[in-house]
Amino acid sequence: MAASAAVSQKIKESTGDRIFLTVVYTVLILVVIAVLYPLIFIISSSISSPAAVTSGRVWLWPVDISFKAFKVLFSTHEIVSGYANSIFYTAAGTLISVTLTVMIAYPLSRKAFFGRNVLMMVITFTMIFSGGLIPTYMVVRQMHLIDTRWALLIPNAIWVWQVIIARSFFQASIPEELLEASEIDGCSDMRFIRSVVLPLSKPILAVLVLMYAVGQWNSYFDALIYLKTADLFPLQLVLRSIIIQNNSSGAMDAMAMVERQQMAELLKYALIVVATLPVLVIYPFVQRYFVQGMLVGSVKG
């Protein structure tokens, strides 16, 4: 369809080129199918009946649609609390991370900033060398952050890569003339940031917010090593315990033995959907910001 339309448009092309283009379209269509199929399969399974899923009758579209799995999920304490925690960590973590990133990226973008090359080296060095898992854990412990919500918000708050992207953006898109003009008018640096830089930097702020938010929503490792209290667990950690370690405790108690096995299987699909949906739903709307952000970072970085 798309392939033939495009080929007929470029009728002037040589036979070799047409074959080449047909191959390209075919491969890309296969890529799209290979990427989409597992995702559709999981969503379809999550809203099919448990019996249909376990007997392998679901191939693409849902069979005997039921939302039972979601009802069970949202009446399970662990999951509701995991969801609430993840929302909190994402919101608070993003706020902290974006603020800190801008605080270091903007000064680094200014030529007049004393020691900017040294500072840049100081932070990029942490990208290629680190103390390691245990020494970092010891620091977090010494700071008494273990088993507190702060452990998920602070120790990984700044990603160097995001600093580099933001710095390149500030360098490329805040005109020098604006700075000179405002300096002549006696505008302080803080005032300049507030009234000129931030309003002009909405695209990069959007990128930073999205990257950090997705990262925070998806992370589990910090929670795994720093948290002990189940009530603080983010959704990803709950997910790990139910799907990967197969501990579907709480949710299953209420159900009859016969149904258990099938339902346990179905819950896994539903849980995947529940944990990923927020990200996938907003993704098509924000995709161009991501691409923009990566381009800013890679072309000029």
Partner: protein, 294 residues
């Protein structure tokens, strides 16, 4: 300088972050040269020189760990590095239009799936009895396979699922580089009657070589730092002979068994190899292609 004191003030909190959570741990890495004692603390514990490193090198696990780490990331590099380039070149062939945007939108999407969800999907698809892969195998009259229980399949599962997840995302950088190529080159090629394939070979590829080299350096520099999170989640007692890598070993020995000094030494060894690899490849690239990350 004093005129811009506000900028310096602004930098203090982020700088503290780097000092406390990035540089202080580097100082803490002296643990590797000590026999850690909880009561005496990191600095009070007795020095033991290189004993922890010697213990690791003499450990029967040593070669297995190094081999698993290198094979897994080497395989990932070999298979995962060219695919985004090919993908970008193909996407670039379709000029404009809805299909192009659709392909990008779809191929980019799996990047946003979390590691836990990714591993959950892998486990559901490859489950021994009810997994999709086995239902499909049975459908065609083939016998079921316990994919995650076969040590021989671990690397393939890891690498191909990783490519599924990140190829579209990685392609964006090359697409950006392709977009930056001088359009007059294509016009000249058109006049000379170059085919699409020739244009790719003589314009597109040379045009993105600097990007390719930089990404390659960064990837090689990460050879030893292969994603711990996913390996750890995919591990089980059956596939552990191939899936235990240095990072998962550090976690097990260090945090689960509280053997801090030894695990720090192992981790430090890993980071150092990584740093050496990065510097070597960067130096080579600088000499051969004149591109480098600094």
């Amino acid at each position: 300088m004093l005129k811009h004191w506000q900028l310096h003030l602004l930098v203090i909190p982020p700088l503290l972050f780097f000092l406390i959570f990035k540089y202080y741990p580097m100082a803490n890495a002296v643990l590797a040269f000590k026999d850690y004692n909880v009561i005496k603390g990191i600095w009070g514990s007795p020095w033991v020189g290189f004993r922890n490193f010697e213990l690791f090198f003499e450990n029967p696990m040593f070669w297995t760990l190094v081999k698993n780490t290198i094979l897994l990331s080497g395989f990932l590099l070999l298979a995962g590095f060219p695919i985004p380039i090919l993908l970008a070149l193909m996407i670039n062939e379709i000029r404009g239009g809805r299909f192009k945007r659709f392909v990008q939108l779809v191929s980019f999407a799996p990047y946003f799936i979390s590691t836990v969800v990714m591993v959950s999907i892998i486990m559901l698809f490859l489950a021994p009895r009810l997994g999709f892969a086995n239902i499909a195998l049975n459908f065609f009259g083939l016998e079921s396979v316990n994919f995650l229980g076969e040590p021989g399949m671990f690397r393939s599962i890891y690498v191909w699922s990783d490519i599924w997840q990140t190829a579209g995302y990685s392609a964006v950088i090359y697409l950006a580089a392709l977009a930056g190529i001088d359009p007059t080159l294509y016009e000249a090629a058109k006049v000379d009657g170059a085919s699409r394939f020739q244009k790719i070979r003589h314009i597109d590829l040379p045009g993105i070589v600097p990007t390719i080299v930089i990404i390659l350096i960064l990837n090689v520099g990460n050879v030893m730092a292969i994603g711990f999170e996913k390996v750890y989640l995919l591990q089980n007692p059956l596939n552990i002979v191939n899936s235990e890598i240095i990072a998962t070993y550090v976690y097990r020995i260090g945090l689960l068994n509280a053997n801090y000094s030894f695990a720090t030494a192992v981790g430090l060894f890993n980071s150092l190899i990584n740093l050496v690899l990065l510097l070597t490849v960067n130096g080579l690239a600088k000499r051969i292609t004149n591109n480098s990350i600094w």
